[in-house]
Symmetry: C2
Subunit: 471 residues, 2 copies
Amino acid sequence: MAKAPVLTPQAEDFPRWYQDLVNKAELADNGPVRGTMVIRPYGYSLWERMQQEMDARIKEAGAQNAYFPMFIPQAYLTKEAEHVEGFSPELAVVTHGGGKELEEPIVVRPTSETIINDYFSKWVQSYRDLPLLINQWANVVRWEMRPRVFLRTSEFLWQEGHTAHATYEDARDYAARIHRDVYADFMVNVLGIDVVLGRKTPKERFAGAINTLTLEAMMGDGKALQMGTSHELGTNFAKAFNTSYLSREGKQELVWQTSWGVSTRMVGGLIMSHGDDNGLRVPPRLAPVQVVVLAIKGDEAVLAKVREIGDRLKDAGIRVRIDDRTDTPFGRRAVDWELKGVPVRIEVGPRDLESHTVMLARRIPGGKEQVRIEALAELLPRVLEEDQALLLAQSRERREARTTEVTTLKEAAEAATAGGWARIPWANVGAEGEAELAEQAVTVRCLVTEDGAVPDADDAPGTVALVARAY
Amino acid sequence: MAKAPVLTPQAEDFPRWYQDLVNKAELADNGPVRGTMVIRPYGYSLWERMQQEMDARIKEAGAQNAYFPMFIPQAYLTKEAEHVEGFSPELAVVTHGGGKELEEPIVVRPTSETIINDYFSKWVQSYRDLPLLINQWANVVRWEMRPRVFLRTSEFLWQEGHTAHATYEDARDYAARIHRDVYADFMVNVLGIDVVLGRKTPKERFAGAINTLTLEAMMGDGKALQMGTSHELGTNFAKAFNTSYLSREGKQELVWQTSWGVSTRMVGGLIMSHGDDNGLRVPPRLAPVQVVVLAIKGDEAVLAKVREIGDRLKDAGIRVRIDDRTDTPFGRRAVDWELKGVPVRIEVGPRDLESHTVMLARRIPGGKEQVRIEALAELLPRVLEEDQALLLAQSRERREARTTEVTTLKEAAEAATAGGWARIPWANVGAEGEAELAEQAVTVRCLVTEDGAVPDADDAPGTVALVARAY
């Protein structure tokens, strides 16, 4: 008789598989207030690694971290007309503080453009103060009617960048730089996810932006996930908050702005990109634990060898963890590390000591082989880079295999509802076509040029729309 | 005529000096909602360095990071009687979400013992799950009637550790380990602040704790600042949330718990410990910028040399910043770096190029000297360690000089109101004496043993009370 699977198989019920994995790999739990989540230590260690990698790239792009209050006077939200319309259905409102009813209600930030512009308008005086490049790591709240852990939660963790520039061109180029050199570089080269870089349609833009750049990834079930966005805000917030500067020529000018963010939603994207029926598969460059060294049994010689191997690999610069919990059956621990998606397991038993070998199990391509202990420190970095490349290749292959070229709205909707993406000339869709697709819960994920670049305008000739169902 | 001072002198008005420094060194601004603050990039970079140093020590102590929701059902707070009494006057309450009035009001976490115990009670089943050692970096809200930036703000950033143990002894030892190996080690060896480690009196304990360990520092005006606390919670929250485990002997037992936290308040402590009339002085081991290399004038040879020196120092492992903003007058930039407390300034002008020397200005002891460029990479690490030691020595000397040994309540109150600390036998104070001192806004900061150790009990013979005014 076959063993009962640890997770609901993907093919049987993908959303259920996702929920099973999140629970059994101990990534997160639902919070007591509807739509909130508890990020458990292993899930949080994935987010910490994302933060480290992103933070380095953000600093490399010249932005500095700061922190703005999460409480925003309600009146601030209403200063930019589209912004308030976009966000007011999602707000959490504080009406009481320190035992008293407040004179003015306070909202918990859904995003920080308004409060940040209040300060930018004080800090920016002359062209010498520009560009002003700020980032913050914070929690935000957007009330969710249909929450799903990591993907749509009422409170989530993110970084939000906010910048002010002297010219339109400068702001445009910076939004594109973040899109490409920070976000795409991280997602492709660290997460191993083959994201498509594109431009949102006017309908799908951020509330208050003149242009939104997006990164879209195909999940294991063929749906799309928006992994991050970078916005050109034009002078919309600058007008609302009077954020202006004295130019080199002595004129008072409005600043041009950008904002950009990625969130804990990326953890959901990671799971649904690389997970399989045995659990998560974490790309080695991201992995908080790249290699786990397991003692099969608890005798002293085995434990000593496990520690020795662990130390040696740590010295070789590998993120390694020892598993010497031999009072828990070996099989259960092996399944647990498989669920958690640690790329390499090294299993050490009494017989291995004589032969100076260990069993090396690879989570990403699968398979096991006997390896000489002496060879590990040299072998493993190569193995990890191979596995990193494999995940990216699989992500690319899936997207290519499940993307169809079509010309009609009907075909596009069919491809999307069948669990794939459609590429269709944007001229054949337009705002009306978008509305029609929306009735079938299908959206234009982004616009790209014929050769796959990011279009400069909404209606450049030859623009292609990428159409899909999305999380 | 003497130059007008940049800051209000400390001796003239210490609180005003503090506020001036916070503004002029661009550390923080007041937020739009009363009691909140905007932490500006330079202020935030101090906090980031604190986080890095603390996070490494917390992980070394075996705790793992996680994240719990900031929204807590109001009913949770009421489960532990002392806890709700302590915190309810300070709560911010969310009554509306997603455009609707909520059925049950939600509080924004003032601290997370309650919500964390809700999960600990699910995660802990057997003795094998213990100890459970969790930390989170988060924002919390405690409504403030008399806010002061960094020191008392309605929203602040902190880390809060929460642990569960099988026995009283285990929990007690872990709270003490955090107190000593994480907090004191960081504050003494990185912040350069000569903290006193002690035990809080029953009156000053955390709401819900059976014992609170504290770290108290003397500020520049002789007042005390509580820099951090580590609590033994006993089984109080375990009872309220039924957090129990199956022991090795097969019995169901309550867990013993600890919690511990330090916050952005430490930035205030840093300022008031080490600042002087010219601004902040940042201890080198903490400093986000240890050395700034300034171009006095903008000619190309000077700028090239500045960059060359910067690269060389970076290679030597020094955290270095280049200041080539030569369109701003040199004097203004020098004052700005002095205000920000960067330990070493290296000033490069055209004449220095010929002599292969630079001017080295030291912020901490003061003074300038001509130094050969070749000697810098070897000289600077020594200079920085000297400065680190000097700050700690000054902090210690101040505390010793301004602490008086007394025997009566009257003398203790006099010493405290004169701007110093008093040491008085705890037997001469007691709960009644504490109440009497409180009328003069004087508190028992902590209890210590005769030889300066942390007492094991509230009323051990020979216990000494440290009495002061406090922030």
